[in-house]
């Protein structure tokens, strides 16, 4: 493999790592704040214990998110210096705002973590809200920067030069809203189901059931509501992609022939050589409808684009199928939860808890798959239709070693964090 491939792998791996911690850092504060609120209202010590237990977890995740994010800020330049040289001045605005958001978040977190004794109760609780809101704001801002790579705007590209730069327009690029909405929901789905799953496992094992049931209920509400909204927002995203990146849409669907009333494929194995999809289920007209809201609309196929502008079709297609499949499943799981609000006896059934143990990792898998769709689907461009990834990569050879270095470092870090969480849980169960 070449230098470029390793640089890509490293980018993908480190981003994929960061996003997990970023999502938890974004969403967990909301769970905490709810539990904290219940403590203030009911003075039931279990809620206090839960809040503090989550808080310790968040502190650990937050630190890991912060260091991996710091590494990413360097990496954008270290791996893609040519990209940053030109893109930096254009899409810098979300990052400079994000800096402010991080600060607000860090300051509020300082108050929240260390303010149990010295701050007025209400104000202390409120700093927790600020942590969450600032986290979501920074998430939205980075995603807007990513949106700009998909839908470059706010400049004129003339003879290889970037002129008439307008940072505000770059921030408000055509992709920012759908992507930010979908991403924010995804963070809630993924974290909600993951946290609920962890607590479901404890309930399943019969450990400290009262506390874990309370924890489960807080987390799952967020996850389930977001899981219902997610496909709706995904549909908006798909319509957006159809308009702005038709190649990506075609790759998501492995749709080779330009067609009116194009069918939607479910499943299927992509045969790149013969440019067809085998073993698929076809729903006639559905793709045209999903992409353009019209069963007869024309959907451009991959064959109509130059070969050197195609992304790796199978990866994009499988990742998309995975995301949508899991999205549907999680929506159903959310439904089960809502029904169980009426049918209380379900909570006694082991199958019920087993379901939520199984769904625990699925949100994060869908989220990673979704990013693969977005990022790999944009290839070979780093800035859609403007700059190719291969022209952006660092001239320094030996990215292979850099990649393995990060791989090792983050695997160790990942294992340590998991092990630490397990210890937190055990300590929590012992307190019972």
């Amino acid at each position: 493999m070449e230098n470029l491939d390793y640089a890509r792998l490293q980018m993908a791996f480190t981003l994929g790592f960061h996003i997990i911690f970023a999502c938890i850092g974004m969403v967990m504060p909301f769970f905490m704040v709810v539990s904290h609120h219940k403590w203030l209202k009911t003075r039931n010590p279990i809620y206090l214990r839960l809040t503090k237990a989550w808080l310790k977890g968040v502190a650990i995740f937050f630190a890991t998110g912060a260091v991996s994010g710091t590494a990413l800020s360097f990496e954008l330049g270290m791996l893609w210096p040519e990209f940053m040289k030109h893109a930096g001045p254009i899409f810098g605005m979300p990052f400079s705002l994000e800096g402010a958001a991080f600060f607000v978040e860090a300051i509020a977190l300082g108050f929240y973590l260390y303010g149990w004794k010295n701050l007025p109760e209400k104000f202390h609780w409120f700093t927790g809200i600020i942590v969450g809101v600032a986290g979501v704001a920074s998430g939205i801002l980075v995603v807007s920067a990513n949106g700009w790579m998909n839908a470059p705007s706010g400049f004129d590209y003339i003879n290889g030069e970037f002129l008439n730069i307008d940072p505000v327009q770059a921030l408000l690029n055509p992709a920012w809203f759908t992507q930010a909405l979908h991403m924010t929901l995804a963070a809630f789905v993924a974290t909600g189901f993951a946290v609920a799953g962890v607590h479901a496992l404890q309930i399943f094992r019969g450990k400290n059931v009262e506390l874990h049931t309370k924890a489960f209920k807080i987390a799952i509400v967020f996850g389930a509501v977001a899981a219902f909204l997610q496909p709706l927002s995904g549909d908006l995203s798909a319509k957006d992609v159809a308009e702005r990146q038709p190649v990506k849409l075609a790759a998501m669907e492995a749709h080779y022939e330009t067609q009116n009333g194009a069918p939607l494929y479910i499943g299927g194995i992509v045969d790149e050589e013969n440019r067809e999809v085998n073993f698929k289920i076809e729903i006639p007209g559905a793709l045209s409808f999903l992409a353009f809201g019209d069963f007869d609309a024309e959907v451009k196929g991959l064959n109509d684009f130059p070969d050197d502008e195609l992304p790796p079709v199978p990866i994009v297609h499988y990742a998309f199928q995975l995301m949508v499949g899991l999205g549907t499943l999680l929506m159903l799981a959310g439904l089960v939860y809502f029904i169980s609000l009426k049918k209380k006896h379900w909570l006694k059934s082991r199958k019920y808890w087993l379901l939520f143990i199984i769904t625990a990792p699925l949100g994060f898998i869908a989220l990673e798959a979704g990013w693969v769709v977005t990022e790999v689907g944009r290839q070979p461009w780093i800035i859609h239709q403007v700059m190719r990834t291969e022209d952006a990569v660092t001239p320094m050879p030996g990215m292979k070693y850099s990649f393995f270095f990060y791989l090792l470092l983050y695997i160790i870090l990942g294992i340590t964090v998991t092990w630490l969480m397990n210890r937190q849980l055990k300590a929590l169960n012992k307190e019972e």
Partner: protein
């Protein structure tokens, strides 16, 4: 507008050097302490730095963002040619950052603490050393900007610029500066025996600093580093360093008298002066390559970007600074001074 951006660039550099530096320094002080003293330092660091720990490090990110948005050509050179030392800086930041949190939030107190402590201390020293080396390579005159990969090997382009004695000296100098800052900072935060300890540390690191600085200048001069020559011939730089040296006298008076606030500000001011001297020696040509000197002011982003960045920074500044001061004040530290151990969360 450009001046606002430049101001924030210098301001965040300064705060990172001071606050981040005090943070690294605390780890260094802990590293070079006896066993019992390590424990004291560990607890003090947690109490004092804990609440502002995150905030101290965001200055680095702000600095980076200003560079890449406002000075893209400059950032480009740094990121290509300083790749390796910066990876090592990141390694340091990563291990000390997570170790700091792990050691305070791990639910179980057992032998893994030993590892967290080790990693925290090691990270605390490698980060400033490699930061210093990265800075040194910018001014070393050894960077070769080229696309010619047949005549120049990997070593010439990506190792040579940072891997040399001069770089190492600057790295160690910065690490000593951090430890100096931290010990003065810690003097003000402690009582009794612990205070005596940090007083001793502060004296020790002052000596180390002066010696290292001297070796640095002499070696740099005789090895023909342009930066050092310019430094020595620049009156502003010399005067700043001179004042910084003279300030040692009031610093020591204040420490003796137990004036905590002044001693802290004085130590900070000294470091600011040293940094100012280094930057002024070459401003705005902060990158010295083998052939040319790159000016910060000639590698600007387009005007619209600079204006936008300036406005964002001003808005950010107004939002953040009051909050930050409030945070520092709320947990201040000097007032609270409860000698009891921090309550377990």
């Amino acid at each position: 507008m450009l001046y606002i951006v430049l101001f924030f660039l210098m301001f965040s550099l300064l705060l990172y050097v001071l606050l981040g530096g005090a943070d690294f320094g605390a780890g260094i002080v802990e590293l070079f302490s006896s066993r019992e003293n390590r424990k004291i330092t560990r607890d003090t660091i947690y109490r004092v730095m804990g609440p502002v720990w995150e905030a101290n490090h965001i200055w680095l990110i702000i600095l980076l963002v200003i560079l890449w948005v406002g000075f893209p050509g400059y950032f480009n050179v740094m990121m290509i040619y300083l790749h390796i030392p910066l990876v090592l800086v990141l390694l340091g930041i990563t291990i000390r950052g997570v170790a700091f949190v792990f050691r305070h939030y791990d639910a179980v107190l057992d032998s893994s603490q030993i590892w967290y402590n080790r990693l925290f201390r090691i990270g605390s020293i490698i980060t400033p050393v490699f930061l210093g080396m990265s800075f040194a390579s910018l001014i070393s005159g050894k960077i070769i900007i080229t696309n010619d990969y047949t005549n120049y090997g990997f070593y010439d382009l990506f190792m040579e610029p940072w891997l040399h004695l001069f770089g190492l000296l600057i790295g160690l100098f910065y690490a000593a500066l951090c430890a100096f800052l931290a010990s003065n900072y810690l003097i003000a935060e402690t009582e009794g025996d612990a205070r005596k300890l940090y007083r001793k540390k502060s004296a020790m690191y002052t000596v180390v600093l002066v010696i290292l600085g001297f070796i640095l200048l002499v070696y740099g001069y005789f090895a023909g580093f342009k930066f050092i020559e310019d430094f020595i011939h620049n009156p502003v730089s010399l005067i700043s360093v001179g004042i910084s040296g003279l300030l040692l006298i009031p610093l020591w008076r204040n420490i003796k008298r137990g004036n905590r606030i002044w001693s802290r500000y004085l130590a900070g001011l000294q470091v600011v002066l040293v940094m100012f001297a280094a930057i002024m020696a070459h401003f705005p040509y902060i990158i010295i390559t083998a052939e040319e000197e790159l000016s910060l002011l000639e590698n600007l982003a387009p005007e619209a970007t600079i204006d936008n960045l300036a406005i964002m920074l001003l808005i950010g500044g107004f939002v953040i600074l009051p909050g930050l001061f409030h945070l520092m004040k709320s947990f201040n530290m000097i007032k609270i001074l409860d000698k009891s151990k921090p309550k377990e969360m």
